[in-house]
């Protein structure tokens, strides 16, 4: 009976054990099915995911292209930048290591704390920069003591260096760390040490200078540590860019302008090469690369002389008497006066009930065009401007390159203002007054120009009537250096302005008389060396309005005024006078009179320019010899 009962139990057990076994088989089947799904059906997808996990692409920043001057002198180069780094997992006792390091190189307490702080946030194998820009002595001291400094290593990077510093700061611009708004999605820009062109040539041609990033495919683990390199593509270094500047001339110009708040532009009148583009005071572009302190930045932007501002292209000034050639040429072209026709200057001119004064009290007497330019007689130009009307003056100014941006290669170029009836109506909603024409006729009032525009105007006046445009980059055909808005390759040639050669000659003779005839406003600043003589025109731009009361009480001398209220001194000139090759435009902010302050600077610059011309004295092929 007992046996029966047990047999029944065994029967149930066996039956149920088999059921259970069947269920287990089902479960094993499910596991195998799952494995089949993951490892066969979905294998490709997961293989891709595993590769994504494992392979990381690192960017190798390309070396930035060099910038050189017209003679190949390097102006912006990449210097090896030695920095000392420490790796926590190799250093073991980091504070002690830093302590030892601090005895070898200058390492302030504050920096040590920063390193320790940064170290806490980063993984043990990530190198932390302790100090950058080590000198060669620092490097060798660290290397010699390497056995005592576990985890400390010297790394080499490239950093931008401008050997001429301030001299070319406004032209070259500078590079600095990429800011949030400049991110374009290019991963290169997101590299922590990457620098981008922020101003000048560095900014405009950043794309060419930057080059193409290389890549390094590395295998990484889940913590991001690099296990090994799988492949490497070195990328393309940035392109070299040659600019038209003559560095020595530029340095000479910067030094000659000195501490003034001033600008100077020197152009080749035939091809538009910018030989010098000076703006003072300057700033140290290398400081931007290293990173400015808030105090340094504050000093730069609060300086009333605007060191960051490139006055040569973005400073807008009333041209003063340097504008008189525009009016003279317009008058000749319009036929409102002949060169020999005279205008009587009693020292002032009445229009309605307003009296317009000549700069010379008592007047110049009878003036023809030659003498009007030579003596810069205001009344003569009031008269011909009145005959012309503002719109014909404006049209000529624009043909000579004023009033519009020229499309120069640098950022921040301003267009100036050439007023006309339509301009005033559109801008102020008021109609034009004839008195304003007179004021505009001597380059005052609404008229604003940049030094670069004045240089271009001068070039166009003296180069035989060619509408030359300035440019800064020397291009070779097919080099692909095209920047939207920038001027075309010079070898395509500039079009003629279509102005009578005779009229241009008359104006040019007036400019020669200013310098070379006794009584000319800049006679004292003439060049005496034979073959190097210059022509030019002075200008003085009034910064404040002189009231009648003040005029009666006696106009204050410029030197007695606060700097901010003094007149701007201007000068445009060219040389050699008989076969113009170079021209220049000078502005000295609040410098006083053009003849006293600006003309001597122009003289020095034009002498230096001619002396430095390797082709001096030889005729230029294809250019007609012009009558001086």
């Amino acid at each position: 009976m007992l046996k029966d009962r047990d047999q029944e139990r065994q029967r149930v057990f066996t039956r149920r054990a088999l059921l259970l076994g069947g269920a287990q088989l089902g479960m094993v089947g499910a596991l195998l099915g799952r494995l089949y799904y993951l490892q066969v059906v979905e294998a490709d997808r997961y293989t891709v995911l595993a590769e994504d996990n494992r392979i990381n692409i690192r960017l190798l920043p390309p070396p930035r292209g060099e910038i050189v001057d017209r003679f190949g002198v390097p102006l912006a180069i990449n210097e090896k930048n030695y920095r000392v780094v420490v790796v926590r997992e190799q250093a073991r006792d980091v504070p002690a290591t830093l302590e030892r390091l601090g005895r070898l190189i200058d390492l302030p307490e504050r920096e040590m704390r920063r390193v320790l702080r940064e170290m806490k946030r980063k993984r043990a194998f990530v190198p932390i920069t302790v100090r950058e820009n080590l000198t060669w002595e620092d490097v060798s001291r660290v290397e010699v003591n390497a056995p005592d400094l576990p985890g400390v290593a010297i790394e080499v990077g490239l950093s931008r260096f401008y050997p001429y510093g301030e001299t070319l700061a406004h032209v070259l611009g500078y590079v600095a760390a990429v800011s949030e708004s400049e991110l374009t999605g290019d991963p290169l820009l997101e590299l922590p040490d990457f620098r981008i062109g922020k101003n000048g040539v560095e900014r405009v041609y950043d794309e060419y200078l930057r080059g193409k990033a290389g890549t390094s495919q590395v295998e990484v683990n889940a913590l991001g540590r690099v296990i090994r390199e799988l492949s490497r593509d070195e990328g393309t270094p940035g392109r070299r860019i040659e600019i038209t500047i003559d560095t020595e001339l530029q340095r000479f110009a910067m030094e000659r302008l000195g501490a003034e708040s001033a600008a100077a532009v020197i152009l080749d009148v035939h091809n538009g090469d910018v030989l010098a583009l000076a703006s003072t005071p300057g700033f140290d572009p290398n400081a931007f690369n290293r990173g400015l302190t808030p105090k340094e930045w504050e000093e730069l932007i609060s300086n009333e002389r605007g060191p960051l501002n490139n006055k040569a292209i973005s400073g807008q000034y009333a041209p003063g008497s340097t504008f008189k050639m525009v009016v003279a040429l317009a008058a000749l072209e319009a036929g409102v006066i002949t060169p020999k026709q005279r205008v009587f200057c009693p020292g002032h001119m009445e229009l309605g009930d307003t009296r317009f004064h000549c700069w010379k009290k008592g007047g110049h007497g009878h003036m023809d065009m030659h003498d009007g330019l030579k003596h810069s007689c205001d009344v003569y130009f009031y008269e011909i401007a009145k005959r012309l009307g503002i719109d014909r003056v404006a049209a000529m100014a624009e043909r000579l390159g004023l009033g519009k941006v020229l499309g120069f290669d640098l950022p921040g170029e301003r267009g100036g203002i050439i007023p006309s009836r339509a301009w005033k109506q559109g801008r102020m909603g008021k109609s034009w007054h004839q008195g304003e024409t007179l004021i505009a006729g001597i380059g005052q009032g609404y008229v604003l120009t940049t030094p670069l525009q004045l240089a271009v105007m001068t070039a166009r006046l003296v180069n035989g009537g060619i509408a030359v445009n300035p440019h800064l980059i020397r291009r070779q055909p097919g080099d692909g250096l095209g920047v939207p808005g920038a001027n075309l390759v010079p070898e395509l040639g500039f079009p003629s302005m279509g102005i009578s050669a005779e009229h241009l000659r008359i104006v040019r003779e007036g400019m020669s008389a200013v310098m070379n005839e006794p009584g000319g406003t800049a006679y004292r600043a003439r060049i005496a060396e034979a073959g190097m003589e210059m022509g030019g025109k002075t200008g003085t731009a009034q910064v404040r309005r002189i009231s009648m009361a003040e005029r009666l009480a006696g106009v204050k001398k410029n030197e007695d005024l606060p700097w901010k209220y003094r007149d701007h001194a201007l000068f445009v000139g060219y040389a050699p006078v008989d076969q113009p090759r170079y021209c220049c435009a000078i502005i000295v902010e609040h410098g006083g009179g053009g003849s006293a302050v600006a003309a001597p600077i122009a003289r020095d610059l034009l002498i230096e320019t001619q002396k430095r011309d390797p082709m001096r004295g030889r005729p230029i092929a294809g250019l007609p010899r012009q009558e001086g």
Partner: protein
């Protein structure tokens, strides 16, 4: 079934040794050796720190297994309740004074060794239930009151373990216990009833879970939802498995495991590493070996003459099956991650020890298969 000559006579030690199931021992050794190889790989081709220690443990556990196999099953039957009570007491102790390990109270530190009472309970529960049903006749298992006692015997440790909280082990206790009830002949409708009640109690159990456990369940349901948090392990495990493909990346070549994308590759996720390096072929091969061991367990249990031995044998086999089935289901994303190691392969002492002990018991069942045992645990006349 053979009605052998020495049905109820005491066997000599020599006779017992001859009866040892050597095929099973070889199978276990093969599986453990695969484990050593995987631990060697997990340490990037180093015997240290895991493979060597695991080998030492295996050697010790092997000896222990053989010793246990020699012990008469009647001894275990006699002490089964006592062992169960001691294990239960240890669970209470661990609840009160256990060290916190892995975010849950699981370990008791005895200075030299740390033990995990829940692992001991897995064996103790099977012993106690086998003992209980041995004494209950076929017709008596039909009575509801007769089922209440074993349900309590399962529920008490399961709740304690759940409170630790160790969802996986609690689940294993419940499943192994249920399997024993089923094998003992408890009516099927009762399982359905209990199952229904269990489902009804689900909200209560959900309330008892800790936040991280709930998170695991939710993450299991949708791992992509949280790819860098709790879903990371499951995602990376599946990537490792899938990228292994049919034949795998080769020994020591698993990128996911060696580049540390795979978490806990020497313990819970060791199957993933194996499947990554040896592909579906290798993974299925291991499952095949496990199935062979389970088949041995079934064969042994089915040949045993006493209800106790049968239930013990199959209970231990089911326990082993649950181990690998849950672990593999977990790493392949069929189940939430509940922290059950891969038996005989994952690095870990207590699991290795209790598993080898249970195989010792299983072999004891085989050696003593022809013993007939009375209802009270005494020899039958």
């Amino acid at each position: 079934m053979s009605f052998g000559a020495f049905s109820n006579r005491e066997m000599t030690l020599g006779q017992k040794l001859l009866q040892l199931n050597w095929m099973l021992i070889i199978l276990l050794a093969v599986v453990c050796s695969i484990g050593f190889a995987m631990l060697y790989s997990a340490a990037n081709g180093n015997w240290e720190p895991w493979a060597v220690r695991q080998m030492v443990r295996f050697s010790g556990a092997l000896v222990l297994m053989l010793v246990i196999a020699m012990v008469d099953v009647r001894f275990w039957m006699r002490w089964s309740y006592a062992i169960y009570l001691v294990a239960l007491a240890l669970l209470v102790v661990v609840e009160v004074a256990g060290d916190i390990g892995m975010g849950a109270q699981r370990w008791i530190d005895f200075g030299i060794i740390q033990i995990q009472p829940s692992e001991i309970m897995k064996v103790a529960l099977i012993l106690a239930l086998a003992r209980y049903f041995h004494g209950v006749g076929h017709e008596e298992t039909g009575r509801p009151m007769m089922v209440l006692m074993p349900v309590l015997m399962i529920a008490a440790p399961a709740l304690l373990v759940l409170k630790q909280p160790d969802l996986g082990t609690a689940g294993m206790l419940i499943m192994a216990g249920t399997a024993l009830l089923f094998l003992a002949g408890v009516r099927l409708w009762k399982f359905l009833l209990v199952g229904g009640i269990g489902l009804a109690c689900f909200p209560i159990a959900w309330g008892m879970l800790r936040e991280y456990q709930r998170q695991r369940v939710l993450t299991f349901l949708n791992p992509e939802n949280d790819p860098l948090g709790a879903g990371y392990h499951i995602m990376q495990s599946q990537i490792a498995l899938g990228s292994g493909g049919l034949f795998g990346k080769g020994f020591l070549q698993g990128t996911q495991s060696h580049l540390q994308f795979l978490p806990e590759k020497q313990t819970d996720f060791i199957f993933t590493m194996l499947a990554e390096e040896f592909g579906m072929v290798g993974a299925s091969g291991l499952i095949g070996l496990y199935v062979l061991i389970v088949i041995y367990g079934f064969a042994i249990a089915l040949r045993a003459r006493s209800q106790f031995a049968r239930l013990l044998g199959l209970g231990l086999t089911v326990n082993f099956f649950l181990y690998f089935c849950i672990n593999i289901a977990m790493v392949t994303g069929l189940m939430p991650v509940v922290g059950i190691p891969l038996p005989l392969i994952s690095y870990g002492g207590t699991a290795m020890l209790t598993l080898m002990m249970s195989f010792g018991l299983l072999m004891g069942v085989y050696i003593h298969r022809d013993l007939r045992i009375g209802r009270g645990g005494l020899d039958e006349d």
